[in-house]
């Protein structure tokens, strides 16, 4: 099988966000960048499918040179090789990324394209479904279970209060949700092997944006609350306040 996994590099979830002076991005000082957590589920699923069906896994990242780190992390987990679609700037949106990934993949005859369902920075959830429309390949996103048998695809997609059982066929695009699998930790051998895996660099095919950022802000500061310290003796007073002051009960 020919499998593609699209990966990106994001600030670690423990990051305390500060806004840069331009107010159009976050202040990256002291921020550590990691492989997007949802992409780990996508990479793991690709590896499991390759173990079963054989084939090759190529990871793709769109971004500046820094995005090579995301490809390298996928190599350490077991991906065979990578493609960096090089953006000239950091000024891009979901549409830019989807367009570039689609332009590359359409020349590649994929059987399967995996994404993390969203990146944990801009939380767009848009790219798998945009690529689906651009390539006219079906997509199922927010997937927590995936079975592929003889080209027939059955997936469980998480929705409010339950799951949809979705049927499709290869080639298909999958957006991975937490719960799909347990991503493996790289071991020393796989870390060493990753060093010799090739990254092909290609220029971006499209650089326009459709949505721009006017300004980024921190959430409004919260006034300090009423904190009681007498344990269960304060319960009565708390409920009274929830009823009469906050009016939420």
């Amino acid at each position: 099988m020919k499998i593609f996994v699209c990966v990106s590099l994001v600030p670690d979830s423990t990051t305390k966000v500060k806004i840069s002076d331009s107010k159009k991005s976050i202040d990256e000082n002291g921020v550590s960048f990691v492989l997007n957590p949802y992409d780990e589920f996508a990479v793991e699923e690709a590896l499991k499918i390759r173990e079963k069906n054989g084939g090759e896994i190529v990871s793709i990242s769109f971004g500046t040179d820094r995005s090579k780190e995301a490809l390298k992390k996928s190599f350490q987990m077991g991906v065979d090789k990578g493609v960096l679609i090089k953006s000239a700037s950091n000024d891009f949106d979901s549409f830019t990324v989807a367009r570039n990934i689609s332009d590359y993949i359409k020349t590649q005859n994929p059987d399967l394209v995996l994404f993390g369902k969203q990146s944990i920075d801009f939380d767009g959830l848009l790219i798998p479904s945009m690529v689906s429309e651009m390539l006219e390949i079906p997509a199922i996103s927010v997937v927590v279970k995936l079975d592929i048998i003889d080209g027939k695809v059955t997936a469980e997609r998480e929705i409010e209060g339950g799951k949809e059982i979705v049927e499709s066929k290869l080639p298909v695009i999958i957006g991975a949700q937490k719960g799909l699998n347990e991503p493996r930790y790289p071991n020393l051998k796989s870390i060493m092997a990753a060093k010799s895996k090739p990254i092909e660099e290609i220029p971006a095919s499209y650089s326009g944006i459709k949505v721009g950022i006017k300004e980024m802000n921190l959430p409004p500061a919260k006034a300090s609350g009423k904190i009681f310290t007498n344990g269960k003796d304060d319960v009565k007073e708390l409920v009274k306040l929830l009823r009469e002051e906050a009016k939420v009960i």
């Binding site: 305390k16 939380d123 949505v211 721009g212 006017k214 939420v248």
Partner: protein, 337 residues
């Protein structure tokens, strides 16, 4: 006169969801502020008789489409969905209605459709917005990024925009009842082909009868302070008493105590209920990001320095095993009066 606005109204069990009324309220507001007309579109069977419920929100025109092809193969009695056919129907109707703005709720369905419709209609996407404004005839939006650690003001380079609004954030407001006209669009005029049904939902499995954390107006969440998975019955009892959904911290989800669907935070769900009660949750940055926009936050934790108290409106420092049962009893008492 601007281009028209199309509001997509989502249904469940043949009725409009509350989030659909939030969408039409916002559509009506945008239409008034941009001097344009708005129409509601919905997909399903026998929806004409639901028109009156929309009229109460000032809707003057509703279009419905029935995709009978979806009835085949789907064993679920509830909502039947296939992404490609839905996005094609909405996009084709939008084009024939000279639409500029398409607005949906940021539900599982809305988020799945937004990017697809945008590609088909050559639109920008404002996804999962918590604020919308019209400024000099142009719409700008606020959307949380980094799971709510930052709020970003965004604008569109294009006149066409697909907007999804976060459920529970915008209020559904009734207005003077309108005279509503309804129309049924013949599916055969929309040129759907076999490939539009290549992906389809064949069944829907309801995980429990409980309210989903993403849609709930009240949430009671538990963390590692509960010590054992069995102790979550305390959380469930408290939640049941006040009609709340149950939530969980990442620590207890990763430990396998609770299902991932309950996780609140940066790799779980971002929520903004009226009331959020955090029990035995210290408040890691990634958890706070997912719930800090709740209207009223109550924290119960034995550690007075726990970060959760910094964003709580109310809190009790103390033992969760004493406080949760006492709180459950007190709620029962006041609610029975």
């Amino acid at each position: 006169m601007s281009k028209n606005i199309l509001a997509f109204a989502e249904t469940k069990d043949g009725k409009f969801k509350n989030s659909a009324f939030e969408v039409v309220t916002e559509a009506a507001k945008l239409a008034a502020e941009t001097d344009s007309e708005f129409t509601v579109l919905s997909i399903g069977t026998d929806l004409q008789n639901q028109a009156e419920s929309l009229a109460e929100y000032g809707v003057k025109r509703m279009l419905t489409v029935e995709i009978s092809e979806l009835n085949a193969k789907c064993t679920s009695s509830d909502f039947k969905y296939s992404p490609s056919s839905f996005s094609k129907v909405i996009s084709e109707v939008a084009k024939s209605e000279n639409t500029g703005i398409i607005i949906l709720s940021a539900t599982s369905l809305g988020k799945d459709l937004a990017g697809r419709i945008a590609v088909r209609t050559d639109s920008s996407v404002f996804n999962d917005c918590t604020g919308l404004r019209v400024d000099g005839g142009k719409i700008t939006a606020t959307r949380p990024v980094y799971a709510g650690k930052s709020f970003t003001e965004i604008y569109s380079e294009s006149e066409n925009i697909v907007i999804t609004i976060r459920p529970n954030v915008f209020k559904a407001v009734k207005s003077s009842k309108a005279e509503i006209k309804t129309g049924k669009i013949d599916i055969n005029t929309l040129n759907l082909s076999e490939t539009d049904f290549s992906t389809r939902v064949i069944d829907v499995v309801v995980s429990s009868e409980k309210i989903d954390v993403a849609e709930a107006d009240r949430i009671v969440s538990g963390g590692r302070g509960l010590r054992e998975p069995e102790n979550f019955t305390l959380i469930e009892n408290l939640a049941a008493t006040i009609g709340a959904a149950t939530g969980a911290s990442r620590a207890v989800v990763d430990a396998g105590w609770r299902p991932h669907s309950e996780q609140v935070g940066q790799t779980g769900k971002t929520v903004s209920p009226s009331l959020y009660i955090a029990c035995g949750i210290s408040g890691a940055i990634q958890h706070l990001a997912g719930m800090s926009s709740s209207k009223c936050i109550v924290a119960i934790n034995k550690d007075k320095d726990a970060p959760i108290f910094q964003i709580a409106n109310y809190g009790i420092v103390g033992d969760v095993f004493e406080i949760i049962p006492a709180l459950t009893e007190e709620f029962k008492k006041v609610l029975s009066n």
